[in-house]
Amino acid sequence: MSDLEQAAEASREHSSAKGRFFMRFTRAQRYLHATLFTTFLGLAATGLPMRFSESFWARRFASAVGGFGSIIFFHKLCAVVLTLAFAIHVKDIFTRSWVHREKGIFWGPNSMVANWKDAKDLFGHLRWFVGLGPKPQFGRYAYWEKFDYWAVFWGMIVIGFSGYAMWFAPFFARFLPGWALNAVLVIHSEEGLLAILFIFSIHFVNTHLRPDSFPMDMVVFTGVESEEEFKHKRPQEYEALAAQGKLEARVSEPAPTWLSNFSRVVGTIAILIGLLLLVLTLSAYLRE
């Protein structure tokens, strides 16, 4: 067999192994995530040097990019973009739920709102960790994914509000007491720090680096995941769709190679930047 034939056979085997693919995230959702993580990385990369302004790397970074002026400019730019994305998301929820009267946004198996099953799943999961019970059957959004979502939602409001309060302090001072101007910096930096530590350690591991997804879960980039992955990670949703006969409707084309490769590069860079920032943050935080 020639080299070319060998290669052709290998590629056929590879493609046949792929099997069916299912749509998980819409294009709009993927764009939202992309906007969220790029602006978040930008905010973290510019916010950390301000938070740890005494550390050597903060000063190095600042002098490399042109001082505080450019850091705060980029920080505000990312903040405005992220605020817009957040506003679009909130408007989208509002339109879907109140204008189009779409069911299941605030309750039910496809909702982001926590329910009794999430509490049971959390305890069930913890029991499974230590071998005291079976693995819970997760639905469309598992409890830690809902936590991620609401953590970001709450963070957006808290960090956003405190950030704008500092940006437009004289305006906010018209209706905020004086001590609040001191408090907003504490709130902004502590909540920001929590977000950074959480995303770059917990979210990265839970979603991307854990053995089931290692080195990263591509679904948020490509929108599709394999049947095997779907069944393994979200068995309840899979079973429900199968029972309702809606499974076929979710079958979709596998992601084009360019998109997979592009996503892999972007995702790897994002994760590496995040891990670097995590190390710098921890080193500066522990030295404080």
Partner: protein, 396 residues
């Protein structure tokens, strides 16, 4: 009648001078007969050449050689001659030198500052070693040497001075009014800064700097630091504590502003620490943003007054104006912001204390739970994966 009678007297004096002058020249010519020789050396091999023309143009050019070398009466004179005593004429300077740091005549002969004793010029003459623009170089001959600095436990001040605002004014701008070494230290009666009489003794420094910086010194004397020093509390800073003594920089320049807050922080440690918690400090640490508020932008620099003084820029009634210098639209509520709030102090800043406590508990609680959760998850997932692989390996 008096005028008429004085005329012959003047004529007589002029005649005496006229006839005496060639005699003087002759006396020096006699000496120069040997000493003008470029190779003239004494028994020990030291050059004894005198540049007659230069000597004549010098401040001592009207004197005869033996006015100073008074022990030489005849020719040839002995090999060893008594050293010249400048103090014979310059008693006042000699007295001043006597109690000074340079009193050791063997180590500090007059010529060590005034240069070649046969070419001494008045200090207004640019050729003089003690002409204002030449003074730093003259002093720097010793005070610019590391070895000398080490030997006497002194800083090597010459390079510091030359790079300072005074040094630049002198060497780059050629300003005669720029402070040179002797403007602050004096010339003959230089005393150690530990000496109460010294112009550079701590409590005398404001007066010394005030010789030129009169306006600033008045401001300083009206401020808390000036009053403390005047009352004998020498822990309070004088000019040189903030500006340094020799490496003085232009205080409005970026370089000085950028590294300036620790100067006040040296003494005001608690205020410095709380300042560092603020956005003002974060801005100032990262560079490129020199406008951000530093200590004296709010407190003033020289006429520093306590907040209780209604003239102080940080007095409650003046805060809107003071903060408003940077923060357009600052109002009464805005200036309630505390630039030195301490979130760790429950008594001073209770609201801020509890906000910080809540945020820290939230941070610690969330992370602790999820770190444990995720580590357990990782272990369990990896365990399952290995088990699955092993199971596959058993059944080929």
């Amino acid at each position: 009648m008096k005028t008429v009678s004085s005329i012959p007297l003047i004529l007589a004096a002029s005649a005496l001078l006229f006839f005496a002058a060639p005699g003087t020249a002759r006396a020096q010519t006699d000496c120069l007969a040997c000493h003008a020789d470029a190779g003239a050396q004494d028994a020990a091999g030291h050059s004894v050449t005198i540049d007659g023309a230069k000597f004549h143009s010098s401040i001592h050019g009207v004197l005869n050689c033996n006015d100073c070398h008074s022990t030489i009466k005849e020719y040839p004179h002995p090999d060893k001659v008594t050293p010249v005593k400048c103090a014979t004429c310059h008693a006042e300077q000699a007295n001043g030198l006597a109690g000074s740091v340079h009193s050791d005549g063997a180590e500090h002969p007059c010529s060590s500052c005034h240069g070649d004793s046969h070419a001494i010029f008045p200090k207004e003459d640019a050729r003089s070693a003690v002409y204002p623009l030449n003074v730093p170089r003259t002093c720097g001959a010793c005070h610019g040497s590391d070895a000398m600095a080490k030997k006497h436990g002194l800083p090597n001040v010459y390079p510091l001075y030359m790079d300072s605002i005074h040094g630049f004014a002198l060497s780059k701008e050629g300003l005669l009014v720029a402070a040179n070494c002797q403007s602050c230290h004096g010339s003959h009666h230089i005393l150690s800064r530990k000496n109460l009489e010294s112009a550079t003794y701590k409590s005398n420094i404001p007066k010394t700097c005030g010789t030129c910086h009169a306006g600033i010194t008045t401001d300083y004397e009206n401020g808390v630091h000036g009053k403390a020093v005047a009352a004998g509390r020498l822990g309070a800073p004088v000019c040189s504590d903030c500006h340094t003594a020799h490496a003085i920089e232009q205080p409005t320049a970026d370089a000085f502003r950028m590294q300036s807050t620790p100067i006040c922080g040296n003494c005001h440690k608690d205020k410095f620490s709380t300042y560092r918690d603020t956005f003002h400090s974060q801005l100032s640490s990262l560079g490129g943003y020199v406008e951000t508020a530093r200590c004296w932008d709010c407190h003033g620099a020289h006429e520093i007054l306590p907040a209780s003084d209604p003239r102080s820029p940080v007095a409650p009634a003046n805060l809107v104006k003071t903060c408003g210098r940077c923060h357009a639209g600052a109002n009464a509520s805005f200036v309630q912001y505390q630039p030195h709030a301490n979130a760790r102090n429950r008594k001073l800043n209770p609201a801020l204390y509890f906000v910080r406590l809540f945020m820290n508990l939230l941070l610690a609680g969330t992370l602790t739970f999820f770190v444990i959760h995720t580590i357990l998850w990782l272990i369990r997932s990896r365990y399952d994966q290995i088990k699955k692989k092993a199971a596959k390996g058993v059944q080929p």
